[in-house]
Amino acid sequence: MKKYTFTEKKDTRSGFGAGMQVLGQTNPNVVAMCADLVGSLKLDTFIKENPERFIQCGISEANMIGMAAGLTIGGKIPFATTFANFGSGRVYDQIRQSVAYSDKNVKIAVSHAGLTLGEDGATHQILEDLAMMRALPGMTVINPCDYNQTKAATIAAGEFEGPVYLRFGRPVIPVFTDPDQKFEIGKAWMVNEGADVSIFATGHLVWEAIQAGEMLEAEGIDAEIINIHTIKPLDEKAILKSVKKTGCLVSAEEHQVAGGLGGAIAELLIQGTPYPQEFIAVKDSFGESGTPAQLMEKYGLTAKDIVAAAKRAIARKK
């Protein structure tokens, strides 16, 4: 098992803020928009450096998405930012008509996705956004795994032409990826090559998958771990190549089991050779208040859950 270490923990949303700072300096067309959550989205530096290119929308997410679409018509590259709950489900129709169907170069960049939002509870813990955004024709859906990758993904989203849903989170987590990485949209990242089981993880679950890989190794199981930071377009080639080798898989995400990364992979595999697949995801349930760690444990999204799932998948191999 390839060794991954970290010296600090940071939140992925701060990676977004750092990416925006770079874009603010390198691309004069980048505009930041926010619906009354500037501190949460870590936009302070961008705003300080580019006050004329920040649009405070107030608590009006629908209007923000519509204005973002309008800004693209004048050649701007707007990043419409809020919590994931308010930047997806609340404004699905605005994204569908004014952004996706109209093929506008809008970046919807959202924080506090999933259970790890924590104490605010289920009203704010969106667990269906990947499914919704993935279903929209032409939408690119990105869910990076740590601070460095979120920063790189933000810069890549700004350079990419077309609508993007960029999803990140609230809590501090280990920073374990390369600070100078090149982020390629749609290209999976091989975290660890293995032979017995493929673990496809996205977002906060990638670090859990790495820990699971170490635990499995201690039991003599050689896990392949792949970071699927881009849910759409899915790196089908990387997934097919991996499962062909290992013969079974686990998908791991901070999302409902319905329609997320696991669903996307299952849709792909069933068209060819199906392999035993276990889902690490929330099983048709809303979240609740609690600390991020408590919630991840209660809803079965930890490294030890991935270990158990990997063993189940291996046992199902013919």
Binding site: V31, M67, T72, I73, S98, S102
Partner: protein, 296 residues
């Protein structure tokens, strides 16, 4: 394909003539596919003709096939956004008559493989359309975004938006109405088509908008009113607006129109909001509208 060229009229009379032809186009398009929304389209024909044939500064360069060359970014041009996308027939007719595409293409409205979808869209690449609309309440936000981009780009051009009065029942409209004056969007002119009708009946009965002008004013807009079916009044108002923009306030025009304007049996009711005329009704309607530019 043979193309039709039109010179840009400058007289009131010629605008009225074009509006008559546009109304014929609307009726024939809706009749041709036996679906669509003639009522609001007929009511807004005068505004769109006045905007596109006189008021708006648009790129008059001819491109491929002799049609107006169209850039979706609209830099250096005035922009128009149709928020109540169901009145697409009037939008399509005016765009075609203005020279964005061949008027013969109007015959494909709402038919399979057409660029003229039931509601306007950029998806099929129809020149003249910059955003999809149809799901109501979104156009004003888009127009504000485009107006913001013009300010960021240092452009002096104006952005126009048309909404329905029934559409004012959508919450997003009021998010946008609140944002614009607070952010000095003074290169924006929003028209509300006050015809008092929506699908299920009069707006007063379905969900009363009450005094829309007073509401916009309370939010901080400069509010004007006009008879949207009187070309003299419309053109006078549009000229006046050019002197009122750039003064820190967005402008809202409460535009009184008659749904079904120009066809006696379609007026004074909500019944022709989304119903197509049959053969006899089409004939009866066309007899009331002079053919001025040649039917497609």
């Amino acid at each position: 394909m043979e193309t039709t060229q039109y010179s840009i009229p400058t007289t009131q009379n010629s605008l009225v003539e074009i509006a008559s032809q546009v109304r014929r186009d609307i009726l024939r398009m809706v009749h041709g596919c036996q679906s669509g929304h003639p009522g609001g389209s007929l009511g807004c024909a005068d505004l769109l003709v006045a905007l596109y044939f006189q008021q708006m500064k648009i790129n008059n360069r001819k491109g491929k096939g002799g049609y107006l060359s169209f850039n979706i970014d609209g830099k250096g041009e005035d922009l128009f956004f149709l928020s109540n996308g169901h009145i697409s027939p009037v939008f399509y007719s005016v765009l075609a008559r203005r020279g964005y595409f061949d008027v013969k293409e109007l015959a494909t409205f709402r038919k399979i493989n057409s660029r003229l979808q039931g509601h306007p869209t950029t998806h099929e690449g129809l020149p003249g359309v910059r955003i999809a609309s149809g799901s109501l309440g979104q156009g004003l936000s888009v127009a504000i975004g485009a107006a913001l981009a013009k300010k960021l780009n240092g452009e002096k051009n104006l952005v126009y938006c048309l909404m329905g009065d029934g559409e004012q029942q959508e919450g997003q409209v009021w998010e946008a109405v609140q944002f614009a004056p607070n952010n000095n969007i003074d290169n924006l002119v929003a028209f509300v088509d006050v015809n008092g009708q929506q699908i299920d009946g009069s707006t007063a009965k379905v969900n009363n908008n009450r005094d829309l002008g007073a509401k916009y004013k309370a939010f901080g807009w400069r509010v004007l009113t006009v008879d949207g079916n009187n070309m003299d009044e419309l053109t006078t108002l549009l000229r006046k607006i050019k002197r009122l923009v750039g003064k820190g306030q967005p402008i809202a025009v409460m535009m009184k129109t008659e749904m079904g304007q120009g066809v006696d049996f379609m007026m004074h009711s909500h019944k022709w909001h989304g119903v197509a005329p049959n053969d006899a009704q089409l004939e009866q309607a066309l007899a009331q509208l002079p053919e001025t530019l040649g039917d497609y």
